[in-house]
Assembly symmetry: C2
Homo-oligomer: 449 residues x 2
């Protein structure tokens, strides 16, 4: 029994869902749009680590409903339990059945909970995007004397950096791989992050596995694969997330090769009236089109803008070129950014590549207050000279430098073009025009061709 | 009488000269390269304003000879007085005659000294790129109780900001046009700069002319076109510079339409063995190819890299696409960046354009410490949707955001591409992925097409 109707139903209230709805409103002013979200009070995903010390109160990271209200989008807090494609309705936990004309699946991902002995104990926290859950987690961690973070990707690293700022809290970080941030950065950049965490007092243990979480009901310690133990009163799981595909699977929608819902270039699933965006949608690599498990709010919002515009009509050619997996992170004053392929991934993928590197002060002359060194590494195809990826480390400005690299990747810039790039430089803001690291790194690479 | 020979002679030791020589060395390892500079101790041009307070001592802004030494480039302090194209030699002030195979003119510009009554008085300072001159100027200004800056372009604005930081010094800034930074920014951005200077105690007088500098030998006051007077003990001329073309003119090299030495796409002058780069070379607009009086170290170094690579052979297709006049400036905590056309210049040029704007916190959520608002304005061709220019205001990160826009311009990005751009975002570093101002400004413009 249909009790309510909407032209567009968006399942999920995170960035992907909100931007899908808001974009749909811009392009289709007359349609009725409804967002259904399962969590009443959501949070801004990338702000989660900063709810523990940096932000004054956790509420400062709440996901606002204001953009939806402003766009005249309706909102329902409920959980969608089934998609009935035949009848074009969704069923919800509270027993509703709601009709749609177009459906957008934007219901995200679920944190991976590894099959470790003791993982079910009290004090072990997967990262859920739920304000009330995170508030409670914060209270508990603030009471603890030691915390273990499992996973040395950017979430684990950011949590370690943030929690190390809490007085009286000993922070351990355990990563299975030999270095930190190893999925997106070459080893030398991971080592910079490691040094920054160590300087802040974090005990970083790479190349080891968590064998067991010990204690009674409540976790009180950890046993590592090297046989050593640490006392821990709380555990944060930062080992990534899995696309949420249950709804789509049950509805018989194509899941592609299993890393998220399959979509075409316009974010349409195998059912032309159902779109999928964000963490629940499969990602393809920009260069190889291979499946890539990348979950970033910025990718999600780019996809949402594509879906929102093309719901009823392919309005304009908005292609989803595949993900360049572009992101930045911040560790105890050090900024790291990565986009596209690095040396390790380019090599693994079989590219004949050349890498170029440069380091220079990020302000000029070097005596300008606040100067730090910026380092840029670029990877190019040897034959075509096209940029395949870039990594940057430095101070705050590096957070936007990676976006220059991102633009260059998305527009397939060559080493020669980068070498003679016109750039804005200023003593207080950037490296010198004579030593702009992005240009010098391209030059370094071109010299090797 | 040729007393010395070099395969390549570069005239000028500023950024254009140094980068020409260093690039030539990379591409032509066996050539003998000589740089002749007239100023023994030069300075980094963009750092000049910051020699007065920000930098510990003026020497911190010295132009280093180290890059030349490292590249095995010879250096001669002397002034080139004539180019003898027939014999392929240059004559110098000290009586030398030096043979070249390829010659690079990189001898810059001269500050404009306006024909104002009293301009010859002591205490009036054109900005020369000479360390000893600037050191003496600094000493004199530090003794003064009031200083007048003539010109509200970026040099005048940066000087005003810097000098206003000196204790006990009253700063006046006079600009003929109705607003500040009016050549590169739409009025609203100039107004932001004005507010920042006022907040720092600068008296800014727009829309008025300096009629006379008064006093005896030494300037002691100014009479403005509105009839008012101010007491001033020092005057800084920040009204721009003229390309230095005397050498080229005397040698019969084509000066084009008179705004700098004419060059082809590879920075060759009308004499195929003579190149011109930097301020002395004519600039063409990226979109119209019209002559444009833009003098920026970043443009100069891009040109120098083109010339240096192509001296003996057009090595690779390195075109000089014309200048996008990209630069950034910093005024009392406010960063402003501009590239390409703004609304005013696009309109004046006859473009059918649309503008899009957006403003958002430059960190997210807004409660992250240090957050300021970032504002982006983009101008697109209405018909082709191609980006024509961008302006940005904000905190320190805006200095690299203008370089994202610069990359987009140089690769001719469309509004649609920008709307679905993949970006790296981070709470401490950038705007939110849902509200990234560059993307929202493109969306705003696209909505008006």
């Amino acid at each position: 029994m249909k009790e309510k109707e909407a032209d567009v139903i968006v399942v999920g209230g995170g960035p992907a869902g909100v931007i899908s709805a808001v974009t749909a409103r811009r392009y289709y002013p007359d349609k009725k749009i409804l967002v259904i979200k399962s969590v009443g009070r959501g949070v801004i995903p990338c702000g989660i680590p900063y709810m523990f010390a940096t932000l004054e109160k956790p509420e400062d990271n709440a996901m606002s409903d204001l953009p939806l209200e402003k766009s005249n989008v309706e909102l329902l807090v409920d959980e969608v339990t089934a998609v009935n494609r035949q009848g074009k309705t969704v069923s919800t936990k509270s027993g509703r059945e709601l009709a749609y004309d177009k459906l957008v699946l934007a219901h995200g991902s679920e944190p991976v909970v590894p099959p470790v002995k003791g993982i079910e104990k009290k004090g072990v926290y997967p990262i859920y995007k739920d304000l009330d859950y995170l508030k409670a987690m914060k209270e508990e961690i603030r009471k603890a004397k030691s915390v273990l973070i499992i996973g040395g990707g950017f979430i684990g690293v950011e949590f370690a950096d943030e929690l190390a700022g809490l007085k009286g809290l000993k922070v351990y970080l355990v990563e299975l791989l030999p270095g930190l941030l190893a999925n997106s950065f070459d080893a030398e950049f991971g080592q910079m992050a490691l040094a920054k965490l160590k300087a802040k007092g974090v005990e970083v243990i790479c190349g080891e596995k968590v064998e067991e979480l010990t204690g009674g009901d409540q976790v009180t310690g950890v046993l590592l694969s090297d046989g050593t133990r640490r006392p821990v009163e709380a555990v944060v799981l930062g080992i990534g997330a899995r696309p949420n595909v249950k709804l789509a699977e049950a509805a018989g929608i194509d899941l592609g090769r299993g890393q998220g819902i399959w979509t075409d270039e316009y974010m349409r699933t195998s059912d032309p009236d159902i779109f999928a965006v964000g963490d629940c949608a499969g990602k393809r690599d920009f260069f190889t089109r291979k499946s890539l498990p990348v979950m970033l709010a910025s990718t999600a919002t780019a996809e949402a803008r594509i879906a929102g515009a093309n719901l009823f009509q392919l309005k304009v050619v908005r292609e989803n070129k595949g993900t360049i997996a572009i992101y930045s992170t911040y560790v105890n004053g050090l900024v790291l950014g990565s986009a596209g392929l690095n040396e390790a991934t380019a090599g693994k993928e079989g590219f004949d590549y050349i890498a170029g590197e440069a380091e220079a002060p990020d302000k000029h002359p070097g005596g300008i207050p606040g100067m730090v060194k910026m380092r840029v590494k670029l990877v190019f195809s040897r034959q075509s000279e096209i940029l395949l990826g870039g990594q940057v480390s430095g101070g705050m400005s590096a957070g936007e430098v990676i976006n220059i690299i991102g633009m260059a990747l998305q527009k397939r810039v060559s080493a020669t073009e980068l070498e003679t790039l016109q750039i804005a430089t200023h003593p207080c803001l950037t490296a010198a025009p004579t030593m702009y690291p992005l240009v010098l790194a391209a030059q370094d690479a071109a010299g090797k061709i």
